[in-house]
Symmetry: C2
Subunit: 161 residues, 2 copies
Amino acid sequence: MRQNALLRSAKGLGVPSTARKEDRKAKLVVATPGLADDSHDHFVVRNGVRCAGVHLIVDLYDAKRLNDIDHIETTLRRCVDAAGATLLHIHLHHFTPSGVSGVAVLAESHISIHTWPEIGYAALDVFMCGKANPNECVPVLREAFKAKRVAVSEMLRGQGS
Amino acid sequence: MRQNALLRSAKGLGVPSTARKEDRKAKLVVATPGLADDSHDHFVVRNGVRCAGVHLIVDLYDAKRLNDIDHIETTLRRCVDAAGATLLHIHLHHFTPSGVSGVAVLAESHISIHTWPEIGYAALDVFMCGKANPNECVPVLREAFKAKRVAVSEMLRGQGS
């Protein structure tokens, strides 16, 4: 039973269509080992900065339902939809006595969540490349977990790479 | 075949023993809804700051073997061992024509990697709570991918929560 509880929500989704993959297919036309200037078409341009992807660090404080693994899974899926991303795989663990860790692997990178229900705190990160918009996840998270305070910081990964 | 390639390395590890879980069990003795001062025993103290966990953002530049999914999986497992963490689940995707995304779910949180082999770039994050030491992953990554430049930034998640 304990093992069941830990592994209750490991689901491989056999959906190979991926935005990142399509980006890469498109890029294949121009990408060469010599890295021509136009070989970074799949990169994100954010505030004029070209980067591999946008990585949001999201902290939820005074939040609720952080021990509800089904709600957390539903919320991660809603985030994926809101961002316009493609879910490839999702995996969640429920810890004893409380707390959940979950990751959603996306065609565009990933979303992770780790919760400390006893103190109302959750640490997330939302990393997306391509055309998906990670910022669309923030209102979904705020509403789903009734967080009284939400802190978001943004990193542009792979600048100049 | 395409689907097999995408899902070739999704493995649920039925090992329920977890450092985080043990921490939480220990904490159960003192944790109450009222959050007594000593209820944060499982938190990390880093440079005198108490936090939920240490989150490293790691960028590898001019790196090699970033399209080798087996090597990436082996390296993630080596990172877990080096950090003294407990692996619960690991999942990797290989993209067409190139690139790998992978996540290792840990008892102590997670490691993620996303690679752009054509430009020698990889974006990782290493988030660990409890007694695991995420910094021990950095030399493993540097060596495994022969990265000419490694950038690491550290965030102390959940301060004051």
